[in-house]
Symmetry: C2
Subunit: 425 residues, 2 copies
Amino acid sequence: MSREPVPHLVIIGGGFAGLWATRALARENIRITLLDRRNHHLFQPLLYQVATAGLSAPDIAAPLRHILGHQRNVEVRLGEVIAIDKAIRQVQLADGSSLGYDSLLLATGATHAYFGNDQWAADAPGLKTLDDAIALRRKLLLAFERAEAEPDPAKKAAWLSFAVVGGGPTGVELAGTLAEIARHTLRNEFRHIDPASAKVRLVEAGPRVLSSFPEVLSLKARRQLEKLGVEVLTGTPVSDIDSLGFKLGEQFVPARTVVWAAGVAASPLARTLDVPLDRAGRVQVQPDLTLPGHPELFVAGDLAAVNQANGKPVPGVAPAAKQMGKYVADVIRARLHGKPTPGPFKYADYGNLATIGRMAAIVHLGRLQLSGVLAWWFWLAAHVFFLIGFRNRVVVLLNWAVAYWSYQRSARIIFGDDQEDRRPR
Amino acid sequence: MSREPVPHLVIIGGGFAGLWATRALARENIRITLLDRRNHHLFQPLLYQVATAGLSAPDIAAPLRHILGHQRNVEVRLGEVIAIDKAIRQVQLADGSSLGYDSLLLATGATHAYFGNDQWAADAPGLKTLDDAIALRRKLLLAFERAEAEPDPAKKAAWLSFAVVGGGPTGVELAGTLAEIARHTLRNEFRHIDPASAKVRLVEAGPRVLSSFPEVLSLKARRQLEKLGVEVLTGTPVSDIDSLGFKLGEQFVPARTVVWAAGVAASPLARTLDVPLDRAGRVQVQPDLTLPGHPELFVAGDLAAVNQANGKPVPGVAPAAKQMGKYVADVIRARLHGKPTPGPFKYADYGNLATIGRMAAIVHLGRLQLSGVLAWWFWLAAHVFFLIGFRNRVVVLLNWAVAYWSYQRSARIIFGDDQEDRRPR
């Protein structure tokens, strides 16, 4: 009696899509290899809190091996995939090895993009990984140190001038939190500057911030930002960025710290698939999230371009990635059991939330629209609830509680042993 | 009516000595500048916990500006001192600026030293700063990843072979915690290795570990280490270290991960003072912690070589540094008020504690000698109590509670965006 070989599913990326697909297949007779460049799953919605020193890196990350340790049909492998050969069903790794598969789920997500202005990257870093967050934290905290040490008033002001480019959720969160740090957290701590005099600008090319929300909520978000001390500039695309500031049209605005929250592009691995990509580099998948002619090759999460029933694209948010991951698991499970596969992927939109800063947020759930303190509590509960792991939830809640009573941010620690950073220029 | 100018005290180093001196002078009519290369005070006794992923960096550090924000006679300055000119009472900073002083407290502590074998530094990193701890954490966690990916059994075993050089408190803590991680924390998480099969060796050149304790406690510490799974090698100096392992005499022992906890040397700034240093590079100060002929220049903490009344040197431990800092403040206060200065510095020895690992420690307090679980609880209470800042204490206790019930270590997150690190060799 010969046994059927156990099919091999390779999942690239341990983000929401990859991890949710893996867990949904826990009881199936399938061999799963989960490949990721990093050893941890990252709760990206709270990454801005690490960048702004409210949380420490381990608070919002959990080792993939630990999350999946007891799921015996999974092997977690730390490695970087550099190419996918869909004809021979093989992935190539950066260490020279390769891995064959029966099914593949590609879920490597998105990175930030400068739309043809890659030279801005050095002066306007983005925020997608823990390393980005730690680097941004250092940059933000050192700007105040440089301002304190600088005798020249104009140069001092430039160190106290911050700009966030991009009025989406990340840009709004960063700008709101930065204003809070300047106005409250650093109070009393400097002798030659008043941190509260720092300028925080949010620059958005489009007509309004948080444009995925109804117009009335966008407007409320803008008012809340302004109340926190952020200057909101809409309808003004940035035309240049360098180490001293940025340009709006022909007008130069001094700002030693510019953060990029404007552009998102799909992970470059998609290019090796040799299939049509959309303008943002995402893979145009079929309604069942597979590639045409390759029912064994799925793409999910931020890397997948797929439409909702109403013709609008599925947004690049965590709930959509989780739903796609579970959907892919459903299709694979149905095939394993020889049952009919489910119909096309349907995105269930449970609503949209965005936080703005201290006790400020907006919420849009069907006909329910909230803003202000109530929306903020709603946002907090939802985010802490969805954090993976008991320990993270408790520690994050505790940090938040202490932060909100004391205005303190416990992770205000500069590390990264860069000599250059310590010397005022 | 002319006002006396307020005297200027410069303190270099925000460790235990510098910070305790600063705080003790809070109510005096003196202008204090506290200079540090880093923006935070570090609770060094728990640094090994960051290296072994039990705590995150911000748990054991607090921003100096925050600690001292309300002490109006202090200015905190981020900067690196490169030389001291005691003739003209001036310190030189790396950014080219200089700073005059009326009194100076030099308290820059110690760094690790390889006793003429600096080529070992790359393969056997030490542990003195948060950056060291984050780098060591990455190295330890990646060793298990490399072992998992390595097909060759001998190479696999070398990745699972760990050595800690130096049987002092840091070496013992690191070896004990590493054994715990291998035997408990990583259980179930790998598919091609059994982490519990990892070899953890503690190599000490002298005849026993923790030699500052009575012999009977040293022996108990050794037994506790062995019970945790550590192989203790005493009387065996290391003769060479490279990336593949280390040598004991002529015998080569494969070990891809070697940690240096053997040598401590005073901070190199002392050399610019142009005064006699001891073999470890520490400044030989007078009984009042000043330099001969320079009553305005104090040295305190790990950088100061001074004897106790019994002729033994004052040990390089946190309580001694705090006591020296307070003593310097007492001398300066007496001078400010034109009162007689206190007699020579006297070290009050309140006892000696060392932790070994899970529920294992030794304690020596006068005639009281403890080991095992009771000693561990004693150690835990003392260390958490002395952690600066309410938030740190609560978070650290919470982390410990969760870690001890679950055997989990919450900070098992690899960051540091080194491409090299992600590729198994």
